[in-house]
Amino acid sequence: MFFLSWRQLLSRKWQTLLILLGISFGTLLFVSISGVQLGMRTFMGEQLLNNTAHVLISGAERIIDPDEIKAAFYPNTFVKWITTPTGLREEVRLENYAGWYQRLSRDPDVVDFSPRLSTQAIAINGKFNAALRLIGTIPEKHIRITTIEKNMIAGSFAALEKGNNGIVIGSGVARNLGTKLDQYIQLGTGQSEQKPFKVVGVLHLGNKELDDSLAFAELNDVQVLARSPGRVSEIAVALFDIDKSADVANRWKVISKDKVQDWQDANQLFMEIIRVQDFTRYFITTAILIVAAFGVYNVLSIMINQKRREIAILRAIGYAPKRILELILYQGLLLGWTGGILGIFMGYLLCLLIGTLEFGIEIHGSKHLPVSYDWKIYATALLSANLAAFIASYIPAHHASRLTPIDIIRSE
């Protein structure tokens, strides 16, 4: 029946072409919108993951409770606080780093993990200074669990070495301090005397807030600077499957007092934006595909009305109802496949074109918009086009298969 379906489609060139264009246009829009949205999402996700991790384990923040202080120091006494005690009870630290180290080393879901000490610091270069969020990390582990090396615009992240007092600073920090690679800046945390650190790398994340404040140094160097030897404030964990982040985080929460956050939980606003983007994308595409599906339905319904005689003769010479169903369904699927393939091809070309357009922001050292070419976008687009065409053609196909030759002949 494929042969006959093909010939019937070819005999109605204009109708076929218009429906193909409808399906192609829907598929093209899905591919291009998804490409741009997922490109941006991947880029933003990478930035977030550079700053956080798939799962981030940090010390729980314990806040001073005035009632607890009253009970401990002034039991059975009425207390009226002139200034109510507030703030953290102690510096944030992991309860049991060694325990986490053993657990994470054995966990089959974990690619690698990187202990960190995150602290505030002031960087000074001559008359200029900048407030930093300084992260002490183990460079080789940090490189394994993030894509940070891709964001280096000068030097290398791997150049951070224990005891060398090297530092990687954000491009905004470098600009504000007027410093560059291999120059020295002074670092202090307010609790210690300033120490000279050599700039071994400059990174650019494309996020002004981060580029103006973020800096990385080797974990031991930061512990010495902060006068907190052995202290780790957080562990960044990379998983084999990022989609398992929430499940893994929930599993670990049960066994520790430490704060365990998966990257989606830590970036709820970002995830909310993604959800709205996804909804918009699917809404637009579904609307277009529904219009195209109605086109398929209309064309096939009209065709069946016009071809009643032919259906009658096919039934009369032995073509069973199932074969008539195939005849119409194949036409719908041919339209779906051809329109879908045409649409994803045109969508791919459009994505390539969008990828060459220049935008005001700089991303990964380029001013071009990041576009995703994930195969799942193309597979989803093709399947959606075919599903729409299949549903739209099944109804008229079923109707045609129920026509009996005698009813048609009598009505002629």
Partner: protein, 218 residues
């Protein structure tokens, strides 16, 4: 052999009886004409004995088997293998060439390549070989009907049912069609049931079943 026992056919609500208890036999290899005036029920009878329709009452047996007991697949397989239809209007598929139209019954069995030569021979016999790759819209009325006849004869069916096959043709083409049917009946021993209101063509058959107001006039 086709056997009809007290066949009744009614249409509509309230039911209007078109055929009134017909009982007759058509032997294997017979050339039978079903004739009568317009509205006498001859086409209705043809559609019943050709399995396109089922009777309201009574039974029709083909080779001893009641046609109402045929399942969907059995019915279509029977039509495909053993029945050839020729209608007044050729009912050719307009998007297929003459050859492709003729090969339609074979295509349903996946044997189009096997029957290609048979189809060409038939076209040659019927004088439309030159129209092999032409679309129906490029053929004359007579040529279209001859292509439709070739389609009906392709699988050498045991039964050929022809409903006014000459109704839309000029005299020369009508005579040609009738001579083809006679030849097939003689050479291939096919059973032929021909519906016609033309006494001239009716007389070419071995036997005539004359219908008057849904009853057989003997």
């Amino acid at each position: 052999m086709i056997e009809c026992f007290d066949v009744i056919k009614e249409f509509g609500k309230p039911p209007q009886r078109v055929l009134h208890g017909l009982t007759f036999k058509i032997d294997r290899g017979e050339f039978v004409s079903i004739s009568g005036r317009s509205g006498s029920g001859k086409s209705t009878l043809l559609y019943l004995i050709s399995t396109l329709d089922i009777p309201s009452a009574g039974s029709i047996l083909i080779n001893g088997k009641d046609i109402t007991t045929f399942g969907v697949n059995e019915l279509h397989s029977f039509r495909n293998h053993f029945v050839g239809f020729i209608f007044q209007f050729h009912y050719l598929l307009p998007e297929l060439t003459a050859l492709e139209n003729i090969l339609l019954p074979a295509r349903n069995l996946g044997l189009q390549a096997h029957y290609q030569k048979v189809a060409e021979n038939l076209m040659d016999e019927l004088g439309v070989l030159k129209q092999l790759h032409k679309l129906p819209s490029q053929l004359s009325g007579g040529e279209q009907q001859r292509v439709a006849i070739a389609r009906a004869l392709l699988l050498e069916p045991k039964y050929i049912f022809a409903d006014e096959p000459t109704g839309n043709l000029d005299t020369a083409n009508a005579r040609l069609v009738m001579s083809i049917l006679q030849r097939v009946n003689k050479e291939k021993k096919s059973t032929i049931c021909l519906v016609t209101h033309d006494p001239g063509y009716s007389s070419l058959a071995n036997r005539e079943i004359l219908l008057v107001d849904g009853r057989i006039k003997t």
